[in-house]
Structure formats: structure tokens, C-alpha cells
Symmetry: C2
Subunit: 335 residues, 2 copies
């Protein structure tokens, strides 16, 4: 359709065709109120005929805004972060923003500064950070990129907005479910404790146990991977110290189930297991996993809401998404 050989039409070309000035065309595409109906229609017709599209670079140059949101992430191939990214992308595109990404291979201050610099070079209008690492937030506050920042998985503080799933509450739901089933010895395979989610889930586990007058001494730490869940699972299978395990995420749960299966520990007959995340596969583990669902897409949407508020009004806020317990077959009443 488009005439590929000639240069792209610009404002001036549209103006000429519609018999108005370029500024009037600019007003039309920017939905300026003071344009008469007939002029607007004429201009819109010219735009359609020429297949005109506004040049982003020129616009950015003068407005000093790029209509681009930078998303800084790590572990972006993992279920949670990946889906958060998708949620942000959808909401951003709907709001007329472009989404630029920078993935962190290693979470270091250097890498974070690098990525922020990368975004600033691109003059993004705002940065969304999907790096569930405590360190990252500190690095961000130190660096102060000069554009609005929304952190996913953290409560806002200072100039940074936050969107998070209530991790602590999720952990409490999981533990409450186990307590209801009659369990007293409930262990926890935590994620790394310098991860915000990891720490919050461990805290929720601890809180729920103490509130019920139970001991919270059975705490182990994995690295989120199935492998670490497997290793810890082997130890647990040998010890048999707990009748229920609340695991920090579904992947470690998978490893745990694997280890238990190898060791002849039956789930849920001998030990109940609850995971966290509810990734699509979790319903097909052996046995299907009881877990805590996080609505990552909603999280991504909320993120953009916060970003738009920050962009428009400079407001900083925190929003919390409620988690939900999904009961499957890896948990049962204590015999």
C-alpha cells in the first residue's frame, strides 16, 4: 500500500493536501480541542490517503518525551517475571507507550547502573523494575534515574512506586491451610532471603505458625530452582522431621516431590506439600500441587497504572494484589 520508494509523508505533506497549515495537522493528531469539525475531517482524510504516521524521533526531540517505558528485569524466563513483563507490555501498549527491555544476566549494582544508563540513553519516560532483589531497590534509590520508577514486588518508598502481590498473606494462607488439616510440624523451604519475595514468604510462614502456637524452627533455604528443592528434599526425606512443607515456589516443590518420590516418601499421605506461584504445570505435578496463585498479569497492569499516575501527576503510591490458595492433591489431613 505504502509507496516504498519515496520518502515517508510528513506533516507538511498532509497539510498541503488538506489545504491547511502544518500546525493545524499537528493539532488534529494531538486531539487539540480548538479545531473545527470540518477541518478535522479534511485533515483526517488527508492523513488516511497519504498513510501518514507521525515521526517519533521528531516528536520526542521537541517534547522531550519518548513514549517509551523501560522494563528492567532479571530471571525474565521464569514464570512470574515473564508474565509480569507481559502484563506491563499489554497495559503499556494500550496506553500508547512503547516498551523497551533490559535483562540482567547477573544482578549486580554495576549491571543495574548499566541498564539504567541504557534506558536513559534512550530517554525513556519511566522505568519499571522487575528485579525482586533487595539490593536492586537500594541501587535504584541511590542512582535516582530522574524519571518515575515503579518497582514490582516491593512496596513503594521515597520516590519509587511499588506494585506487589501480598507475599506474606499468601504464605499465611498456605500455612493456615496446613494447620487446618491438623499439621503441627510445618517446615519451610524458603527462597533466597535477600530476595524480597523470599523473605516475605518466610515471614508469613513464621507469623502464621506463631499465631497458632506452633514452632517455626524448620527453615531451610533454596535458590528457587528445582535442583535446590531436590537437594533439600533428600535431606528432609531422611530426617522425616515435618509432616508438611510449605515451599517458596513451585519449581522447588517439583524438586522436592521428585526427591520424596525417590525416597519412598508419599505425598500427601506421609507429607503434605504446598507451593507458591501456580505456574501452568503445577496442576500436573505428581501429585498435582496445592499452591498459592499470583495474578501476574494483574500485577503488570497495576504497574502501568502507577506509572501513568507518576507520569501525569508525579504521584508515588503502592498497590497490593491479593494472592489466592489453590488446593489440589499434594495436601491432605494428617492421619
Amino acid at each position: 500500500m505504502a509507496n516504498s520508494s519515496a520518502r515517508l509523508p510528513r506533516l507538511e505533506d498532509v497539510a498541503e493536501r488538506a489545504g491547511v497549515s502544518h500546525q493545524t495537522v499537528s493539532r488534529v493528531i494531538n486531539n487539540h480541542p480548538n479545531v473545527s469539525k470540518s477541518t478535522r475531517e479534511r485533515v483526517e482524510a488527508a492523513i488516511a490517503e497519504l498513510g501518514y504516521r507521525r515521526n517519533t524521533a521528531a516528536r520526542s526531540l521537541v517534547t522531550r518525551r519518548s513514549q517509551t517505558i523501560g522494563v528492567l528485569g532479571s530471571e525474565l524466563s521464569q514464570y512470574g517475571p515473564a508474565n509480569t513483563l507481559l502484563g506491563v507490555e499489554q497495559a503499556a501498549r494500550d496506553a500508547g507507550y512503547f516498551v523497551s527491555i533490559a535483562a540482567l544476566r547477573t544482578v549486580s549494582r554495576e549491571a543495574i547502573f548499566d541498564a539504567i544508563q541504557h534506558f536513559l540513553d534512550q530517554s525513556v519516560d519511566g522505568i519499571v523494575v522487575i528485579v525482586p532483589h533487595v539490593e536492586t531497590l537500594l541501587a535504584l534509590e541511590e542512582q535516582a534515574p530522574g524519571v518515575p520508577v515503579v518497582a514490582v514486588g516491593a512496596s513503594g518508598s521515597g520516590s519509587v512506586s511499588g506494585a506487589m502481590v501480598d507475599q506474606k498473606r499468601g504464605a499465611e494462607l498456605a500455612v493456615a491451610h496446613l494447620i487446618e488439616q491438623g499439621h503441627h510440624r510445618i517446615g519451610h523451604i524458603a527462597g533466597p532471603q535477600d530476595w524480597i519475595d523470599g523473605a516475605a514468604r518466610a515471614e508469613g510462614w513464621s507469623t502464621a505458625l506463631r499465631a497458632a502456637g506452633l514452632a517455626d524452627d524448620l527453615l531451610m533455604e533454596g535458590d528457587w530452582s528445582a535442583g535446590s528443592g531436590y537437594e533439600i528434599g533428600r535431606e528432609l526425606a531422611a530426617e522425616r522431621s515435618a509432616t508438611a512443607i510449605f515451599v517458596g515456589n513451585d519449581q522447588m516443590s517439583l524438586g522436592l516431590l521428585r526427591a520424596f518420590n525417590e525416597a519412598g516418601v508419599r505425598v500427601p499421605e506421609d507429607v503434605s506439600v504446598v507451593g507458591f506461584d501456580d505456574q501452568p504445570e503445577s496442576g500436573y505435578f505428581t501429585p498435582p500441587l496445592t499452591t498459592v496463585r499470583q495474578d501476574f498479569e494483574e500485577l503488570g497492569r497495576r504497574c502501568m497504572d502507577l506509572m501513568l499516575a507518576a507520569l501525569a501527576k508525579g504521584e508515588t503510591a503502592t498497590t497490593v494484589v491479593e494472592p489466592e490458595l489453590v488446593i489440589r492433591r499434594s495436601t491432605a489431613a494428617l492421619a
Copy 2:
């Protein structure tokens, strides 16, 4: 460090400070050869002192290049696509490009056109397409965005470059392994056949069987999800028609293993199972899954290589990454 209140320094400010013209500064930042050593050093010092960073919009406006690659993807939360994206991102950033993403919620011509339009509005320099759908390629060839296109998971054709893992060969490796173990009745749970990978894997399965003089009539079709693997697995467990199953991906394998476990079909004693992808969890399935590994990061890197070649020389090419069989415990010799 940066003076946050005043406006950002520009070329002219650097020039003034270094006592040269703005054009000389431009030459320095663009590594133009004809700049004397002393001038270059003086300019570089001024740049460092002022914390100058080039304005991308202004540069784009005149060069008509945005230094941005658009990545169009669907299923971006899945292991394969997500990691391909990360590979592309790393390679792109290393090459000095920004990465903009557009995720397709539904794979339709309309959504694809929409995303391409989105990228063109941003005047990306090139588009990488991670949409393993046959339809998508057709839509792309029809639309002809006017910038280089690299398709992941497809061989190049016409003006489109292609980077792919040799799916057919991967399937052949898997089936050859099963044949070596003495299996004669080898079924296949295929992915959707309008997906390039799905069709290629099914073809590889069929080819390998025929080459060995075996029947290729045990073909079922899932939708890549663990759920579909589970459903098909229930049927297979009832029929017991095959002693080995080659499954189109690891997720369906998980569902299959689940169904077999429920039905009392032992893996690998009764039936051997081979998956495809080798996602990180696959080594922790029950039992650990023999599968075909795809190096997605390498794929992403190759993608960018092709893109850079297309950008620099207008060359179109196809590159193929070799898959690798990872043998674990879901396969065994036929009793």
C-alpha cells in the same frame, strides 16, 4: 553527580568547553578517523566532565535510524520463546541496539499487523519475530514492513532471514535413541501442526521411523500444554499400544507422566518417554526426562547476527542451530 536541575548538556556545551566546534565533538563521539589525538582527548575530557550523553531522538531524526530492534513474540512466558528473547536482547544490547517488544496475546493477522504498525511508528531498524506459527510468516511476507525481518524458528525465505534449531534433526535424534533401545512401536504426541516446530518434529519422527522400517501411525496432537499431554496420556495408558512415546515438548511430557503415574503405567519400565526443549525443570520430573535440548540463547545470538548482516549489507540468510539429546531416566531398553 549530574546536575539535576539544569537542562542536560548538549553537543554545543561540550564543544564550548573543549574549545572546538560542535561538529568536532560529533566526530569524536562517532569515532570519525580524522580527529587529532589531542583534540579527541580534550573533547573526551569535556564529555566526561559534563556527563554528556547523546540525545537519541535528535540523532534518530537526522540519521533516520533508531538503533532499536523490535521483537514481536507470542507465548513469551514459555521457556523457549522467553529464552530466545533474552538471547536476542543480550546480543542486541551488546551491539548497541535498544530492544522494543510487542507481545501477541492472540496470534491473528490483525494482531500481527497491529504490532508491526506499532514498531513502524517507533521506526525500529529491524524486526525479530518469535512467533512459531506458519500463519505469521505469511502475514509478514504480505505486510512487508520495509525493514529487515528475522524469523526465529523458520528458515529464511524471500526478504526474511531465518534462525532456527533443526527441529527435524532433534526429533530424529530422539527417535533413533528409542530405536536403539529396542523399541518398535513408537508413538508421537505432536504439537499443533500449524506451528512450524510442531510440524517439523512430527516429520522428523516419521522420517526416522520409516528409515528404520517401522510404522509411523501412532500420531496424536496436543496443544503444547501439560493439560493436553495429560489427556492424551490417559488414552494411551488405556490402550497400551506403544512401548515408547516421543512427545513434542517437555510440558506435554509432564502431563503424560502424570497420567501414566495415575494409571499405574511405569516409566521407563513399561513405556519410555522422550520430550523436547530441556527446560530447567525437566531433570526433576518423575522420572527425570530424557529430552532434546535447544540452545535458545545461541539462537537469539544468531538472530542478531543475521539482523546485523541484514542491516549492514542487506543480506538475507538462514542459520541452523544443532539440537542435542539429553538422556535421563525416562527411557530404557525394551524388556
